[in-house]
Symmetry: D3
Subunit: 306 residues, 6 copies
């Protein structure tokens, strides 16, 4: 295996149709969600090998996660845990107000532990990708992250970190030092401006780069992104698109960048793909449904012919 290796918690995602209070909703969908598995899915859809490791319960939602990842070509190493698969419940309170609840404390996914991540798999990976969510889930999950990162570093495998600060899991006060430690051990880092500010003072690119990573990408929604890659600075505006659903842009962006890095593309090309993938993601509803294929990226820039 020489592709992307990632791990974390993936949950069932119950999403309400339409807009309005939960007791007025007429129908729901059940999908899956998880920042790391989204990136794995995104990389796989773009045609590069991706492995995801995680724990799910011995329940139908766990089966769903396994099937959905396999269906898109992700090499899913699914560990069955006696606890239940975590669930998210998502609905729009108003046209503009998205509400998400996490039913995850004590879930199977949060019980990830260092032994779940095979040393051999880490060493054989082309990139190891982790997020700042996993260290917030449990002590054992935090240990799994740091141990895998160290194993990768020792083996010369590049480490990618998406900061992904989640205010519902821990406070900025608790998260700051851990995320800073994590970024210090990374080769690549993805962050939003606010996330960067949790970790470093001053201008984000320079600040984060000063911690060690040689590829720092600061993404900023409709404003696009800036990056400092191997010492060179890049600024790429976002595409001008009609936003259907803003969720999932960051994971699509990271997947686009990492897929292109895996296939040996130059920094500017990686960022172009990342920007295109992020743009695609916001024009399609859903989380992982909105991760593009290469064909989608091409189609999205062409007109219909009849």
């Amino acid at each position: 295996m020489s592709g992307l290796l990632t791990f974390g918690e993936t949950m069932g995602l119950v999403t309400a149709d339409g807009i309005g209070a939960l007791d007025r909703v007429r129908g729901f969908r059940l999908g899956i969600g998880g920042a790391e598995s989204n990136v794995a899915l995104g990389v796989a859809r773009l045609g590069l090998p991706a492995t995801w490791i995680g724990r799910v319960g011995r329940d139908a939602t766990g089966d769903l996660i396994e099937r959905r990842l396999r269906a898109d070509g992700v090499e899913a190493v699914v560990i069955r845990d006696p606890s239940f698969t975590g669930l998210m419940v998502k609905h729009r309170r108003t046209g503009a107000l998205l509400h998400v609840d996490y039913h995850r404390a004590g879930s199977a996914g949060s019980r990830l532990m260092p032994a779940d991540i095979p040393v051999g798999a880490v060493r054989a990976a082309a990139i190891v990708h982790v997020t700042g969510i996993t260290p917030a889930l449990s002590d054992s999950a935090r240990a799994a992250v740091f141990q895998a990162v160290e194993t990768a570093r020792a083996a010369g495998v590049p480490v990618s970190v998406d900061v992904n600060f989640r205010a519902k899991l821990w406070s900025p006060y608790d998260a700051g030092p851990v995320l800073r430690d994590l970024v210090s051990r990374a080769d690549l880092v993805f962050a939003g401006p606010g996330e960067a500010a949790l970790i470093v003072d001053g201008p984000p690119l320079q600040g984060l780069a000063a911690l060690g990573p040689t590829e720092v990408i600061v993404k900023d929604g409709a404003r696009g992104c800036t990056a400092l890659i191997d010492g060179e600075r890049h600024t790429v505006p976002a595409r001008d698109v009609v936003v259907v659903d803003p969720v999932g842009a960051g994971d699509a962006f990271a997947a686009g960048y990492l897929a292109d890095r895996l296939s040996g593309a130059a920094p500017a090309a990686r960022l172009a793909t990342a920007i295109a993938a992020g743009a695609f993601a916001v024009t399609v509803p859903g989380d992982c449904e909105s991760l593009p294929t290469r064909e989608d990226l091409i189609a999205a820039t062409t007109d219909v012919t009849r």
Copy 2:
């Protein structure tokens, strides 16, 4: 009981999904609608006591009305009438063109009569709220309105009137004098600019106030509202929101104002709540589905955290 007392006709509301001619529609919803019950629901959702009195048929739609009002905490005094519950059929002919038909002539709700409104309940109320729809339904319904208003006045209970002129029920020529008479007996009055013009000449606030009410609120859609309350003039702009469904704003607005008045808030605070409630209403589809709770008002002004 020391809350809001209101009464009127509430109907079943058949709403088409999507956009297009009725024979192309694939699905419908069945809800309930009525200006007075909407205000009662709105007040109850905001945590204040509200009673609604009305007639419905001995049919499943009548049961639905009773259950929906109770479900939201409205004290519903539902009188079963031998006639049928009125129905509305609503669909969007185009993206911009909403069409509503009333199947209500001779309905149970229109057969409301003075004896339906217990004198004791009127005297015990903190506010009695009526609309300009009820006097247009039937002679007995008109009598019920004026009799309740007089009972309230005599007992020192403040009377609130929402003008709510309905062109499908009567002509401006017929409605003018009746609505003018009604407003003259009110303490509070809610009106749109066009409705004010049916009743008084010249500037609406002053004109309406000259008839007697000490609290006159002229609401004007995306332009917000102006008010003359206890001699003081207020102007409050509407919130800047993305409109999902414009219907229901006026009832949410009135409910917000009246709920705050019941809880003893000052005029400026009442108007702020009214404006927030109106803004919430237009960002959520449906009529009474879009009446906010206190939590909704708070949430609608905050960002998502994940």
Copy 3:
């Protein structure tokens, strides 16, 4: 025009999806329903000319009725009335318990009057078909029925009556004499055993025939039908089918019989088509959706080939 002429009230039909109380239902359909227009639709689907006359409101439900009838080839003479189009609301309280409410009192359809039925159309018809529902709607509707029947008789046009007693519209005590009078003026009569018992004592076939009609058909659900046609007695068992929705069988049966009579088929053939149409109707959900075409009747007796 030399086909079937019929008239009566057709309403909008709001039908709940699934099973359960109205406030738990997730979706509804809006169709049309009316015993006479169902027979007209059924005759037209079987390829014979059929005209329906009736009043509807100036509302979208009235448009729907007009379009649906035309769509199936019924010559619809739709009179627009200032009152509203009547509505029915139908839901299944349990798997076995169908509940229907009529929101029809004072509706456009009930305001049918003698002048609505052109004398020329009656005289030119091959059959005039009426039901026992229309005389229960209003005095003017009753007059319309009896006047059209007399016009037909005078012109030698055969008169068909489906007894169709509706307990929600009038009592057996009120209905009995009127229905008896109506049947006495008919050439053809369709009745269930219970309906016959409202009109005559003793065995239904003989009793009804004694009133005058030369074609008496007593249909009896899963037991099929018996008939006395031009003095000859027929007994036809029902087909053995899996019932999906029992509603609409009687109208399909009458349409089958009348279509075949219009095309000159012999009594036994008419009854066979009637029985097949009734059987088809109960294997398909919906009211007028379940009226068969000739192709349906053939297909329903053949196996699938792949």
Copy 4:
């Protein structure tokens, strides 16, 4: 308050539409479920006062539970807990095979504790109803059950127990002694034959009665029930109905019995209502959606009139 008092865990219930594997399902519903709240809902729908106490999370599913219970007139004492509201995911793997997963370990509901059940409320109740599910949730929940039961006994308030053994929560080996202890402290007990066998040897009625309860009801699905009430033996067959969804019969049955007991009906009448409620429940889909009102019980035994 002199009605039913009950408490326990109520969860969000995600139910798949249709039949088939979770990743083929096209839509879901989100309802609520909990044996105790179902009984409270059932009692309230039958018109008797019912209070439910329990913990839910500070999430939209918790709000849904609160609203749904209130909507049906249950006095809901909803304690907000920092943990999440438990969720169930239910789907039909085949037409005959229902699969339910519990995402509940560590949930808000399982954190119920003795102090949550006010001593005054217990003493003021007409009946205290508990199930064998709550003692399996956590040590504090078990303590809450036994403490409330003892408080009730001491105050002379009758204690009702529905055995409700759940194999997914504990083994028969663990459950046996606890359930036996619980039943020994009860005045009324509801059990299936298999549940009785977990607790006592030999014939269930006599065995359970020997432990103390003076009202023992053994319900047995389509076979109906047997009971030993105040020393008298009753056998009531189930009604002959077409089953739409077998889930929820037991809770409807208990609610029927308890509602009638609250209103002072004699044992035979209570059992008749219980049997009717159980029969109704299986003819309607859903869990708490299938709890009947008095009107439903009457309607379910009558024919449609048109």
Copy 5:
């Protein structure tokens, strides 16, 4: 018959609900589509007589086409062919990206031949309308078009051509000469600016008019249209509407123009109706669902009254 006569291929149209990849779609609709039958439908909805001739398979989709056209009053001459009815599959890959596949090669519709178009019907028509799609379907279909056009010309029946270039059917290189030949034989021509450029160089209006047609209309989406009619030049801006679905505007436009021409309206009035019909079409989803009636055109310019 003295109305519009048109012919071509009409197909079943499978349309995905919502936005996203085909394997994420939860539901589909099955409608019908075809440029010529759309124009016939549009003309019929506007109250003028319209006949459509075409081939469909002996399959349920063929039945659907026949029923839908008849339902809207089109005189449909439906020839049943041993080949299958063509199908289109349409879905939105993103909010902005519509994708259509044609499953039509060798279909019944493409097997249209000269003998399918009765000489008598052509001669009796008030206008014969063809499109540039039909000549691209097959040799026999092309022959049918040119033969009918010549028959019409010889009989003095005006010929209308909508250029309708379809890049999925043939290349600009192949299409150019054929379309140019077709336009040269026409009296009326509808084209977009790009289509005009396939046929003539320079300014489209003058270029196309130079080929022969005395009524040249160049429509240009949100920019409206320009026209050269009987030597006079017209420029009409589009209406300012919120676009719901841009598909179908061209057919609605042509139908509006042709209906008004049939009823003898002057050029400016025809263009006004065309512009209104095009505007209506883009505010309603679907293809032929968005063709307006006269009432729709009036309603679309009025406000709601309540």
Copy 6:
């Protein structure tokens, strides 16, 4: 690769929801269907390796086929053809009457040719499975079947044939000799009693075995199956299940048998799995959705625990 190798035509499958005529249907699903790919899916779901080879169009339906097969672990060798992907349209005309139309003539799938089936893949397979459908599609498809069968025989790879006679594709007269020839070259043959009668006279098992196959399985719906395997006769009754959708049983049956044969199970065990898989298939709606996993087979024989 040492698993199952199969090839043939797989199409898009448009299925109407509910029961009734196509123009009354409210929603549709789009899935995939093909006897050979169903068997491949079935084998893969049961955990054995399976490869499918076939042609699809360069359209979204082709993508769907590819993704769906991959999602379930089938090694899909998908050849893109310039023609379109075939489509089936399926609806229930009545509760009992399923109607399927094929829109497939000239489709991509029918253009399969010998060179599409790599000789190496055939030789490396553990079993080659073909059906009697493919030879009916086109000359080149027929050649592909016979060439692959001969290649397998020459390499000592067992050949499995499911007779699968399709009356819509060819007459019994045309099909008889071809199917007989095909069966003569097979090692395993699956047939229904009617299919056997097309090929041989007299008792099916002996007749088919006399042609050469050493494993002859005659399946017969609810009557189960008989088999002659390596000279030994087996009779296995079907399971007693409630049928939800009879379609797909044969493919599930074949997949069950072949999966067990691949894993080295004895004949009786293979038949038991086949019978269980067929029983599962009829209790779940849909075609390939109803192919069981090992877990499904276990679950389907166990009760729910709560």
